[in-house]
């Protein structure tokens, strides 16, 4: 052993290099989280009107309003994050629009999705079943697309080994689904405390949503497992990216926040008898919602992190 150590040539050490910033940081991760939660809650909102599951009709309003409000914060974040905020308009000007840039489609989606939601909500308020359903379908496609594209934006960077996977949009969508539900449950819980007894949403509905959330968690774990397989059995960059970046610098958001707090603990809550307990569900919802934020952090920044030394 000692012999092996002394004869082993030391590999090179980098003694000087330029430094690089992580170009997409916290504002972007918050934005991904909000877009996701918005899309997730909108999916729930559409259960009643679009898919005709009657018992979901009462919460459609709250869910879509939540989706709209979350989405209203998004452009503000995005625009102020630009180096030149005024120029956000270029993203939609015909002479500028660049069809191969995922960001270009994304910006169209981000602006059309809230509009379609508002139209949908308007018909919901007017109780117009046909138009609510029609606009709801459009809106739900846009909702999913809006979030799907955030995955694509990250995915189409061949140099970022952690992000460059076709699973990216699915991971994003699953995360969106569960965090959307989590947030919705929290909001409905608060709403129930405020509004008249008659207007309160029935807890059995929450329990049901919590079960959907549980299925989402399972699916998310499955996707993460696939990711894990790829990084582990993939090339050295992927493996090291997982080992030194995710398990190193992003250990807290990755391992603790997302996996343990955001998935494993809620999963056990939701399969245990606690799933019938109001506070159990609330706790699980809360954990899922913040857990997904952990994923947004490592996903956005972790993928760029290793390269800042290259």
């Amino acid at each position: 052993m000692g012999y092996a150590l002394t004869t082993m040539a030391e590999s090179s050490v980098v003694i000087a290099n330029a430094f690089h910033h992580v170009a997409w940081g916290t504002p972007i991760s918050v934005y991904f989280w909000l877009v996701g939660a918005s899309a997730g809650s909108f999916v729930i909102s559409s259960f009643g009107w679009v898919f005709g599951i009657k018992r979901y009709k009462p919460l459609a309003m709250t869910a879509s309003l939540q989706a709209i409000v979350l989405l209203l914060i998004v452009p503000i974040l995005l625009i102020w994050d630009l180096g030149k905020p005024v120029r956000f308009i270029y993203l939609m000007l015909p002479g500028y629009w660049h069809s191969t840039g995922p960001m270009a489609w994304g910006s169209l989606l981000i602006f059309s999705y809230p509009i379609s939601m508002i139209v949908y909500v308007w018909f919901v308020m007017k109780n117009d079943l046909f138009w609510a359903k029609t606009t709801g379908i459009i809106a739900i496609v846009l909702a999913i697309s809006t979030h799907w594209y955030t995955g694509v934006v990250m995915e189409l960077n061949p140099g970022r080994f952690i992000n460059h996977t076709a699973l990216a949009p699915l991971l994003f969508l699953t995360g969106a689904f569960i965090s959307g539900i989590g947030l919705l449950i929290l909001i409905l819980w608060v709403q129930n405390m405020i509004v008249a007894v008659k207007k309160r949403i029935d807890w059995s509905l929450m329990e049901e949503m919590a079960q959907y959330m549980m299925y989402g968690i399972v699916f998310d774990c499955f996707l993460l497992f696939l990711e894990f397989m790829q990084t582990f059995y993939g090339n050295q960059h992927e493996l090291e990216g997982h080992e030194t970046v995710l398990m190193g610098i992003f250990r807290f958001p990755y391992l603790w926040l997302e996996l343990v707090i955001g998935l494993i603990i809620p999963f056990f809550i939701l399969v245990s008898p606690l799933k019938r307990n109001k506070y159990g569900i609330i706790l699980a919802s809360f954990l899922v919602a913040i857990g997904v934020y952990g994923m947004r952090v490592w996903w956005v920044m972790g993928g760029q992190y290793m390269q800042t030394f290259f």
Binding site: T26, L82, G83, V86, W97, H98, N157, V245
Partner: protein, 300 residues
């Protein structure tokens, strides 16, 4: 005089050429390697001759007034081996002016484009500073310009990168870094011209490019590159403590749009919080920029 030149060159171009040009910054650009009638400017860096003098870095920085904390070109240095069999290696880096530039494909506003003579260039007036291209570039070749720089007439808070010294090459000069290169390690020319020095070297010597597996088709070729230096993961895992400390200083003190830096050794989530604080701090400045822009639009 110079603008005359431009007019002439555009009229000389003729119709077919014009079409060609449009394509260069529309959808994914066709490569220019080996295409008759186009040039493909490229650089060879002969690492046997690179002495790490950083003349290229200073020449480039002075040429463009590049602000502190960002680089169009830089030189990576590493030590290899155990005492007394130790070697030092230098590797200059810059934009590869890829023939398949990921940055161009991902830019939402066509602000970055591929010139038909091989340059990948920026249009500062189009760039919105979204930094998609920075994330897309596998070589760290791009940077966002800080809000404050020496010459306030030069662009700021947009993305910039090496231009292969377009303005000099157009005037028949080699790029500034090639001009300055003490070791004579940097060689520049037209790869499509079989008689050029660079075409001879690329054809005749063993050259490598960075991350060939990504298929970006770089136009910067290296002679004598060390695999460890070319390897991203290796660089990440083998940094000196001093470099880590320096990098942390950099992250603490050099705040530009992006807000994604994590200081190593400090709580990650606290850093995330600090980033958000920096972001919120930047809003008043940006708001004043917006007001300025509207004033300009309305009153000038």
């Amino acid at each position: 005089m110079a603008s005359d030149n431009n007019k002439k060159s555009s009229s000389e171009n003729g119709k077919t050429e014009t079409k060609n040009h449009r394509r260069t910054y529309g959808i994914q650009t066709p490569g220019t390697k080996g295409i008759a009638g186009t040039k493909r400017y490229a650089m060879v860096v002969d690492l046997r001759k690179c002495i790490g003098c950083m003349s290229c870095v200073v020449a480039c920085k002075s040429e463009f007034g590049v602000p502190l904390g960002v680089w169009r070109t830089w030189v990576k240095v590493s030590d290899k081996g155990t005492y007394p069999n130790t070697k030092r290696m230098f590797m200059p880096r810059l934009c590869n002016h890829c023939d398949y530039p990921v940055c161009v494909r991902n830019c939402p506003t066509q602000a970055t484009f591929k010139h038909k003579d091989g340059f990948v260039l920026q249009r500062y007036n189009r760039c919105i500073g979204c930094r998609t291209c920075i994330v897309a570039c596998p070589y760290n070749a791009r940077h966002i310009l800080p809000a404050k720089r020496s010459d306030k007439n030069l662009p700021y808070e947009v993305v910039d990168k090496c231009t292969f010294c377009f303005h000099r090459v157009k005037k028949g000069l080699v790029p500034a870094c090639v001009q300055a290169c003490v070791g004579g390690a940097r060689i520049f020319g037209d790869l499509n011209d079989p008689k050029s020095e660079i075409a001879r070297i690329v054809a005749g010597e063993t050259v490598t490019v960075l991350k060939p597996e990504l298929g970006t088709q770089p136009s910067v070729f290296y002679i004598g590159a060390d695999w460890e230096m070319m390897d991203e993961t290796h660089s990440y895992n083998n940094r000196t403590v001093q470099l880590k400390q320096e990098f942390n200083d950099f992250k603490r003190n050099h705040v530009v749009d992006g807000y994604g830096d994590i200081v190593e050794g400090e709580s990650t989530m606290r850093q995330v919080g600090k980033n958000m604080g920096d972001f919120l701090n930047s809003i008043p400045h940006k708001a004043s920029e917006v007001v300025k822009a509207f004033k300009k639009l309305l009153f000038e």
